[in-house]
């Protein structure tokens, strides 16, 4: 199929929306990494910047929605063009949520720097954040290159994040049982870990949109799930 529309301005419309998505994606990736770094380095200033930059991400999401509504109203896209517009709207919502989670991480970091650090935790959280950020990067690459295979790979990698979250969950439970003075810090850290785990789910959802966009079908098999903490309450040490 030829790449270009007969009406060239249609191509420009679709390209400009997708450029907005990539811009959003870049900012969100940066927010994830900065939030994790601010926690590890106890960098309050960096945490503050993550919180502020979230406004830009939110504004971009609104802009994507407006542009998408315009294309729907003015050009009545069909087939792959329609799927492009639909997936752009969903992906921007996913990115916006990931941005919110990063912002929440940064907020908790501002509280955590006032407390004694919990040994080893921030390194593990940074590794988890790094994994999710890598998945995000690949999901967005898969989007731009219309690469369903890479998207499928991203989907599979979410299990890794779930397992990291399980491990951290147990670790925090142990710390809290050992010394109740750890509870406040561990609760915040647990929420941070949970936030990153949720980011992984949103990245997975982006990958699914890429599969829908390229193949026209949503992936049918339910994706592998590794989060077992809902069943883990009683067996903790």
């Amino acid at each position: 199929m030829p790449d270009q529309h007969i009406v060239k301005s249609y191509d420009r419309d679709l390209e400009s929306i997708q450029a907005l998505i990539m811009k959003m994606g870049g900012l969100v990736e940066e927010a994830i990494l900065s939030a994790a770094n601010s926690l590890e380095n106890r960098d309050e200033e960096l945490a503050r910047r993550v919180r502020e930059n979230d406004r830009v991400i939110d504004a971009l999401e609104e802009q994507v929605n407006e542009e998408a509504a315009r294309v729907l109203a003015l050009r009545q896209p069909a087939a792959s063009d329609l799927r492009t517009v639909l997936s752009v709207m969903k992906i921007s919502a996913n990115l916006e949520r990931v941005g919110d989670y990063a912002k929440n991480m940064a907020k908790r970091t501002s509280v955590l720097v006032q407390m004694a650090p919990i040994e080893g935790s921030s390194g593990a959280i940074r590794r988890m954040a790094k994994t999710v950020e890598g998945m995000m990067k690949d999901a967005l690459d898969a989007y731009i290159q219309r690469d369903a295979e890479l998207a499928e790979d991203v989907r599979r990698r979410d299990e890794e994040v779930d397992q990291m979250y399980n491990a951290l969950f147990r670790e925090f439970l142990t710390f809290m049982m050992e010394d109740p003075r750890n509870i406040t810090a561990c609760m915040h850290l647990h929420f941070i870990a949970k936030n990153i785990e949720r980011m992984g789910d949103h990245v997975t959802s982006i990958a699914e949109q890429v599969i829908y966009l390229t193949t026209g079908e949503m992936p049918e098999d339910s994706r592998p799930k590794g989060d077992a903490t809902a069943f883990a309450a009683d067996e903790a040490p």
């Binding site: 030829p2 069909a78 087939a79 079908e217 949503m218």
Partner: protein, 265 residues
């Protein structure tokens, strides 16, 4: 996401009304329709789409033997209506066209009164025994054509004095006055404004309860709005035929995709 008409999908499998196999049409040396196989369902709106000259109108005209009126046209293959070959020498094309009605691109009312426009078909086919019968047929047809309320007080006025949209609905009413089983429409809205178009589209949707409707249209949005099945023709071939929601979200053939998304192809 393959089907945006969730409600309509729940309707069971429809009966096949028209079945074409290995259909070829030649205009002299020009091979206009190449080996088309298609099953058109009863009580369904089927849209034919495709670029100009792709053969969609030619194929539509095969379905009630309108191509017989063109000397150089030659039709091969079989076309069955309810299992019976419409090109069988025993079939009278005039009777066939009473069963398979047609509406054209330009509204073409007879230069007669509104009443006589509708009464003409039933009269020549002997569908009415007396004047009261005929009055009833005229009223029923005009009501089904969604134009009764606009013309009931001036049935003696000439049909040509109506607006374009009204004329087209009059022609549809005329086509259904002979109680056809299939209604063929060749771009019925291309000469109408958006309001009249919407009225005709609403009418098509109502007609689907009783008839098999086949519509040729250049407006892909119209095909998407009114039809349940869509057939895409290209250079005389039937490229793709399937459920309308599927054709417009995820067509299987790249040529269909190029056409409906407005790419060079």
């Amino acid at each position: 996401m393959n089907d945006m008409r969730i409600l309509e999908r729940s309707v069971g499998i429809k009966e096949v009304k028209i079945s074409a196999r290995g259909c070829q049409v030649y205009y002299g040396d020009n091979h206009a329709i190449k080996d088309v196989d298609i099953d058109i369902e009863d009580k369904t709106v089927t849209a034919f789409i495709g670029p100009s000259g792709c053969g969609k109108s030619t194929f539509l005209r095969c379905l009630n033997r309108m191509n017989d009126t063109i000397d150089i046209a030659r039709v091969e293959g079989t076309i069955l209506l309810d299992g019976e070959d419409i090109y069988d020498p025993k079939v009278d094309p005039v009777q066939l066209r009473a069963k398979v009605g047609m509406v054209f691109q330009k509204p073409n009312p007879f230069p007669k009164s509104i009443y006589d426009n509708i009464a003409y078909g039933p009269r020549i086919h002997g569908l009415a025994r007396n004047k009261a019968d005929l009055d009833e047929i005229v009223e029923k047809s005009l009501r089904r054509g969604a134009i009764w309320d606009e013309v009931k007080d001036r049935l003696d006025a000439p049909g040509t004095g109506l607006s374009g949209g009204q004329q087209q609905r009059l022609c549809i009413a005329r086509a259904i006055a002979t109680e056809p089983e299939v209604l063929l429409m060749d771009e019925p809205c291309s000469a109408l404004d958006p309001i009249a178009t919407a009225q005709v589209e609403e009418l098509i949707d109502e007609l689907r309860e009783s008839y098999s409707v086949v519509i040729v249209t250049h407006s892909m949005q119209q095909a998407a709005r009114v039809s349940q099945k869509t057939a895409f023709f290209h250079l005389g071939h039937l490229v793709e035929y399937g459920e309308t929601g599927h054709i417009f979200t995820n067509p299987s053939d790249p040529r269909t995709e190029s056409y409906i998304t407005g790419r060079i192809g």
